[in-house]
Amino acid sequence: MSRIGVFICHCGENISRTVDVERVAEEVGRLPGVAFSTDYKYMCSDPGQTLVKKAIQEQKLSHVVVAACSPRMHEKTFRKAVEAAGLNPFLCEMANIREHCSWVHENREEATVKAIDIVGMMVERVKKNRILPTITVPVTKRALVIGGGIAGIQAALDIADCGHEVILVEREPSIGGHMAQLSETFPTLDCSQCIMTPKMVDVANHPKIKLYTYSEIELVEGYIGNFQVTIKKKARSVDEDKCTGCGVCMTKCPQKKIPNKFDQNIGMRTAIYVPFPQAVPNTPVIDRDNCTWFKTGKCGVCQKVCGPGAIDFEQQDTLIVEAVGAIVVSTGFDLYTIAEKPKGSPIKGYGEFGHGKIPDVIDGMTFERLASASGPTGGKILRPSDGKEPKQIVFIQCVGSRAREKGISYCSKVCCMYTAKHTMLYHHKVHDGQAYVFFMDARTPGKSYDEFWRRSIEEEEAVYIRGMVSRLYQKGDKIVVMGNDISVGVQVEIEADMVVLATAIQPQKGADALAQKLGISYDKYHFYSEAHAKLRPVECATAGIYLAGACQGPKDIPETVSQASAAAAKVMTLFSRDQMEREPIVARVREAGCVGCFACKKVCAYGAVEEKEIRDRQGNLIKIVAYVNPGVCAGCGTCQATCPSKSVELDGYTDEQIIAMIEAL
C-alpha cells in the first residue's frame, strides 16, 4: 500500500487567493493511499522543501505529490528534494493548481473543486509511478562544429584550447564566413579582415582542430555523447597534401570572368580559385561547372603549371565518418534579396524596388565589398553599372525586415548599425558626396552603439529621413527614390546615383534540411530553435546539440562570439565527465509481448528502435523483437501509441499511469 504525501502550496497568495488550499489538503487527505497531506505558504522555498523532506522521513512516505505551480517551473526542484530525502525522484509528481487553476479562474468554489480534481488525478497517477534508475551514457570527448564563420571558429578554438578534439566542417572552400567579407566593423571601425584572419590562421594551425572545408554534413546518427556523423568531402580537384598554395594555377587559368560569390558577384575569379587571398586553407578548388577541362575535356593548363603536381581531375567526393560527443551548429545567415520569389513562396520580393533589376540598387553586403580595401574595386565606392563614383547615395533600412507583407516580420537587428557605418565609410571615401538614409526606427542598443549612430549624423553629416520608401525607378542614369519624411509630413524625392538596401537577415538556404538531419527544431523562418528562450539560449532541445550565431536568429559579431563561447562552455561541461546521466523517460520493450511487427520502428523519428533476435539456449532463433536504444530514445512515446499490443512502454508515461488519471475523473 502506498503512503503518499500531498503538499499543497499557497504560492504566497497566488494559489490561496482563489483556491481554498486547506480544503484541498483536507479532501485529498481522505483519498485512499494518501498518508499525509498539508499546505504551506511557499513550498519551493527552503523551509518548504525541508517540510517535504521531513515528511518523507517521518511519515515514511512512498510517493509525493506537490500541488503548486506548473511542473515546467519546479518539477526539477521537488524531484531533487525528494531524492535528497532518499526517494527515487520519479516517485514525485506535481499537480499544477496555479497556471492551470488559480490564475485562470475567479470563482473560488469552482477553482477549489478543480484543484481537488487535479491533485486527485496526480495522486492516482503517482501510485503507478515506478522507480526509474538514472540512465548513464558514455561521452565521446570530441566535438563537431558545423559552419566555419566567426561563430564556428570561436567555438572550435575555445573547445580545442580546452584540450578536446574538434572537427570543423565548412561548406565553402574557405572558412571565414560572412565576417571575412566585411570591410570595417561597428562601432569601432576596425578592419574585419585584420581581426578575422588571425583567428582563421589559429584554426588552421591548431593541433586539436581537424578542418574539413568544401564539405557538408551528409548524415547524423546517434545521440548525446555518441554521435556518428557522415561528412561529404566534395571533390576539390586539388590534392591538399601536395598543394603549396603558390597560386600559379590561378594566374594561368584561362577562365577569368566568373563572378565571385565572395565579392557578391561584382568581382571576377578564375575557374580554379581561392575565394579570397587570405583563405584558409590556402588551397584552391576547381569550380567544375566553369572549368574548361570539365566542360570540354581540353585545357588542363593548371595541371601543366602545377609544380608539385597537386591537380587531380579524377578526384571524387568522399564520405568520412567521425564519432563525436557534441555538435555545435553555427551555419550563420544569408541575405534576403528583393528578387521576385517563386509563386507560392511565403516570402515575397520587392516589385516596387524593381525586383533587383536596377543595377545600381545593391545590398549592404555588396557595399561592404565595394568599401573593402581587398574588394573588387580596391576599396573605392563605384557604381556597378558604369564604374562612376556615386555622389548622391541613398540607404534604405528595413528592406524585408519588419515587413509582414513580404513574409518576414522580425527585426534583423544589425542593419541600423551597419547602415550608420556605411554612411561613415561613404563619407570617408567620397568627401563631396551626400548620404541619405530612409529609416523607420533606429535601434541601437549596445555598448557605444547609439553614440556611433549619432556620430554618423552629427559628424559624418548623413541625412536621416524617417519614413519608408514607396518606390524606386530608373530615370536616365539616376534612380528616383520616392520617399516621405513623416516628421515633416511631406513627400520626398531624391534622384540618387546609387541605392543601398539593408536587406533582411535570413537563415542559410538548406537550414531546414540540416535541421532534419540533426533532429533539431526550427521556427517558421527556419532559424534554429533554442531549448529555452531565456534560460537555455545556446542549447537545442535535442540533447548534445548547441547553437552559435545567426543560425539561431539575427545577431551582430560580439553577440555571435559570446554565444559561440557559451556553446563551447556547454560542450566543455558535457566533456568534463566520462559518463553523463540523462532523464530515464525512455521507451522499453516488453519482449514477451512483442511480435516484431516493427510499427514502432516505422514511427520513430530518432531511429531509436532496433531489431533484436531472441534465441533459445541452443541458439535457435525464437523470434525477432524490437529493442529501444535508451541513449537514442527521446521519449516522445509515439511508438507506444502505435504498438497494437502495447508491448513498448514509455517510462514515466505508462498506460497504467494515464488510465489511472482518466479513471480518477
Partner: protein, 310 residues
C-alpha cells in the same frame, strides 16, 4: 438497387482443382515445399475445409470450389509454429487472401521467399449463411465478392491457366450499407451499432480468425491497466469493436473472415470497409496491393489534411 438473382459461372473451378493438384504433387516431388496449405472436401456434401498436406500423395485431396471461403493466410501467423520450419510452405490463395499475405509481409510477419504462392483465379465464393451445396448466384455470393477487385491474384508463383468468364453485375453491398449509415444522424447510427454490439458475446472468434490479429498478447486482454473492459457487457463490447476497427485501419484488406465467423452476425467488416474508405480518401492508401514498408497510420506527409484541427 436489388438485382434479380443471376447465376455465376464457376465451371473453371474444376480445371483449377486439377491444376493445383498436379502442381502440389510436382512441388512435393521436386521437394520445393515442405507443406501446402489448401482446401479439402469436408464431411457435408459440397463443403470444404482447410487442410495442411505434407506429401505428394495427399495432393489429390486438394480442391477448389465455391465453398472454399476461408482465408488460409491465418495459418501462417498464429499456427505457423505448428508447421515444421524446414523449407518453403505452399499456400493456396484467392485474390483477397493474397492481400492479407501482402500486408503480413509489410509487417515483418512473413517473408516472401519462405512461401510458394498458388494463386486462384476466383469468380467468387458462397456467403456464410448459405448451405454449402448451393449454386453460386448473385444472391448466394459472399458480400466481399460483390465488390472484389482482385479476381486474379498477381505476383504468385503459380496460377492455373484458365480464363475467368465475365461475371454479372453485382450490387455493392458494403458501399451501399456504409452510405446508408453515413446518411443517418449520429444518434441513429449510435442506436444501430448499440444494437449490433449488444449482441456480442465476446467469443473473440473475430480475433482468432483475423490474419492481422497476430499479437501474442492482445491489448484487450490486459488488466494492468485495463484499457478495454473485458466482460461481454455493452460497454466492453463497444470498446472492443472500436479498438479492433482502429487496429485494423489501414491494414485490413477485406477478407471478411471476421464477419463470416461471427456467431452473432455482427456486420464487422462494415467497420473495416468504412475505415478503408476513409484512408483511401484521406491518404489515397489501399491495403494489400503492394508490400509497403509503412502503412497509412505509421507514416505521414507534411501536407496531410488537418482541416479538422483548429
Amino acid at each position: 438497387m436489388p438485382l434479380t438473382s443471376q447465376p455465376i459461372d464457376t465451371s473453371i473451378y474444376a480445371t483449377i482443382t486439377a491444376a493445383i493438384r498436379s502442381e502440389a504433387s510436382r512441388l512435393f516431388t521436386a521437394a520445393e515445399v515442405v507443406a501446402i496449405i489448401g482446401y479439402a472436401a469436408a464431411r457435408r456434401v459440397g463443403s470444404a475445409q482447410p487442410v495442411i498436406i505434407t506429401d505428394a500423395a495427399a495432393a489429390e485431396t486438394l480442391i477448389f470450389t465455391e465453398a472454399c471461403v476461408n482465408n488460409l493466410a491465418v495459418y501462417l501467423t498464429k499456427a505457423k509454429k505448428e508447421i515444421p520450419k524446414k523449407g518453403k510452405i505452399g499456400i493456396i490463395v484467392k485474390g483477397c487472401d493474397l492481400k492479407a499475405l501482402v500486408g503480413l509481409m509489410g509487417e515483418s510477419q512473413l517473408k516472401r521467399e519462405d512461401l510458394y504462392l498458388i494463386g486462384i483465379p476466383c469468380a467468387g465464393v458462397l456467403a456464410s449463411a448459405v448451405q454449402p451445396a448451393t449454386t453460386l448466384t448473385t444472391e448466394t455470393i459472399a458480400s466481399k465478392c460483390c465488390e472484389c477487385d482482385v479476381h486474379l491474384p498477381l505476383g504468385c508463383d503459380f496460377v492455373p491457366s484458365v480464363t475467368l468468364p465475365p461475371g454479372p453485375q453485382m450490387e455493392s453491398r458494403y458501399s451501399e450499407e456504409i452510405a446508408r449509415l453515413e446518411a443517418l444522424t449520429p444518434a441513429e447510427r449510435w442506436a444501430y451499432w448499440k444494437e449490433q454490439f449488444a449482441k456480442c458475446i465476446k467469443c473473440y472468434a473475430c480475433r482468432q480468425i483475423c490474419p492481422f490479429c497476430f499479437c501474442e498478447q492482445c491489448l484487450c486482454d490486459r488488466n494492468k491497466p485495463q484499457m478495454v473492459e473485458t466482460t461481454p457487457r455493452p460497454a466492453g463490447n463497444t470498446a472492443w469493436h472500436i479498438v479492433r476497427a482502429m487496429h485494423l485501419a489501414g491494414r485490413c484488406a477485406g477478407c471478411a473472415e471476421c464477419e463470416r465467423v461471427c456467431p452473432m452476425d455482427i456486420p464487422l467488416n462494415l467497420l473495416n470497409r468504412k475505415m478503408a474508405k476513409e484512408l483511401k480518401e484521406l491518404y489515397d492508401y489501399e491495403a494489400g496491393f503492394e508490400i509497403n514498408d509503412k502503412g497509412p497510420l505509421t507514416m505521414f506527409t507534411e501536407k496531410d489534411d488537418q482541416s479538422f484541427i483548429k
